[in-house]
Symmetry: C2
Subunit: 355 residues, 2 copies
């Protein structure tokens, strides 16, 4: 029996400041100029604070990839046909999509979850079914989902992450698949951050300038019709969200409640993080931004949550590809704390020891 | 018997443009929006061009860490005492320095080479001795080394890389250790790029503003006294270089001659790349810039060689730490070409297939 949303929210505590301080001290004593590993030092001490351990291990890592369809796809806002959502689940399961390649490379397992793909799937040993429905409704015509579906999606995500924790989990990455989901993510971003739609809407999988103007108009219409309350994560999710975005918000909340670092992927995972953050600002302590997406609006999301991305490789694929690469960097940073020696231990003269 | 410098220079050929074109086509056919993996797609096709194979493997990777002392240290331009060069070789050998941690993390072997540390070392199974002398002379008073020593250092690097290639090598990273070597690297950068010393000189391991002005003055004096010819890599190396910088230039040239990708680390490796580039501009085709160092002047070097760094993590440690992380990203990019399926193979609809 997995935890409810309210149980999960109640369980989330801030990262441990004392452990962060200890980790800082250890970083400063290791055989390298202080601060010379830059952002990786910052990440390593944050992980210590999340996990309550300055020399934590990261043997078990997973990337949760959630797929769902979006009713707004009927407005013609994507470069790809809607059936691609369903079609891409099969490469995820057979291990030949980009996220599988990167996950193998960094030693993370991939957990594929159907959160609401049109038509559903035959049972498959590697596919978790948590489907909330065969795609959301078209947010340009009314709410994308009911309030109950929004809570159900988040609680499904909590169930998924609690199951993974039971199997052994030290760090988790988030990933997504859903034709039309940059439209939902932009709407969430505009609703929560208050920025203009045009400023947080990009070309997704590769639409042209004219299609972009259309996409912006569709999102503006969805916000006008639904007037989501930007202070209420559940309301925003139900009005303009997606089932996979709700599921990922649940993964984030459930991980934070269990002191597991969450490496968020790009724009869609950022929208899920925004939803989670509105439900509990404390989740921020457990979030690591893997990369800055090429998708316009991602920086707005990260700035809103005061997160600094590790990578900036011009990526805009989603699936958890950025999260996989980010997990590897986080693990590298933690290994520095665990495996390096101090100046004293190594018999190396520290700065200024000359005189 | 390893190759001479002239043999090596003669052997370097440009990357294969036809293979690059084939690799581009494959990237564009894989199940992801075209270009959605950003810089990693660019890297993957470049590696294909270097290795003459669009699905190359990268099972064998190494990071060559070269250490040497610098006579200019007596001018008081570093935050650390000179003996730290020697002291740090022991953590490299026992596997507990930062580069060892990152190398283990990415599955690369570390090759430690004494290119000219004061005092030398007892024989050690993991330490290669290629020492050109017990540190360079003080470049602020005259040439850092003779022209013969400069050529010897480069040829020693060629010998090191040829030995590694014989052991099996698909990709190599460069790393350094040498108190005072940011001073040498800044001098090389100014001499070759023609930029003012103040613009390419930074705080190295962590000197203060006043010490930085002193460091700049020392470098300006060294350039005034030695007037290195910026068009002649050997001349620059001999006047203001270091033994480890010469050795790394040899590693770069030898790798390029054998079609092995070279992932260059930060500022010191950048100086070695500049020397190699002046000796053969074709080496550029085999260089991947792992990261942008915090050290001022690194961007000037990369721009001069038209290289784009993969990472920007605020790192400034050297040792090959950035190269290790870069190797992992390069390997990930190559695996995309090798392990992902095309739209056709995976039965996924391509962009615009709807109508």
């Amino acid at each position: 029996m997995s935890s409810s949303l309210s149980q999960t929210l109640n369980k989330i505590e801030p990262a441990d400041k004392d452990i962060i301080e200890l980790a800082h001290k250890r970083q400063d004593s290791l055989t390298k100029p202080r601060g010379s590993l830059g952002k990786l030092e910052d990440v390593s001490v944050r992980i210590a604070g999340m996990r309550r351990c300055i020399t934590s291990t990261s043997d078990n890592s997973a990337i949760v990839v959630m797929a769902a369809d979006h009713g707004v796809a009927e407005e013609g806002i994507s470069a790809y046909p809607q059936e691609v959502t369903r079609q891409m689940v099969f490469p995820f399961l057979s291990g030949c999509a980009a996220v599988n390649v990167f996950a193998r490379h960094v030693g993370a397992r991939v957990v594929v979850v159907d959160m609401g793909v049109i038509g559903g799937f035959e049972p498959h040993p590697l596919l978790e079914c948590q489907s909330i429905g065969f795609g959301t409704a078209n947010m340009a015509k009314g709410p994308a989902m009911t309030l109950k579906q929004a809570t159900d999606a988040i609680e499904a995500g909590i169930a998924v992450i609690e199951d993974q924790i039971a199997k052994g989990l030290d760090i988790v990455g988030t990933g997504d698949m859903g034709i039309g989901n940059t439209t939902a993510a932009s709407a969430i971003c505009a609703a929560i951050t208050g920025r203009p739609v045009a400023e947080v809407t990009g070309k997704g999988t590769g639409i042209d300038d004219k299609q972009l103007l259309h996409k912006i108009a569709v999102i503006e219409r969805a916000l006008d019709i639904n007037h989501p309350d930007g202070k209420d994560g559940i309301d925003v999710l139900s009005k303009v969200g997606g089932f996979e975005i709700g599921g990922l918000a649940g993964v984030i909340l459930g991980a934070a409640a269990n002191r597991i670092p969450v490496v968020i992927d790009g724009f869609i995972s950022g929208a899920a993080a925004l939803i989670a953050y509105k439900l509990s600002p404390l989740v921020k302590d457990y979030l690591v931004a893997s990369h800055l997406s090429e998708e316009r609006g991602h920086r707005v999301m990260l700035n809103y949550m005061e997160l600094t991305p590790l990578l900036d490789l011009g990526m805009r694929l989603g699936e958890g590809t950025g999260a996989a690469l980010g997990i590897s960097l986080v693990e590298a940073s933690v290994k520095i704390l665990r495996e390096m020696k101090t100046f004293d231990e190594a018999g190396v003269s520290d700065k200024g020891a000359e005189g």
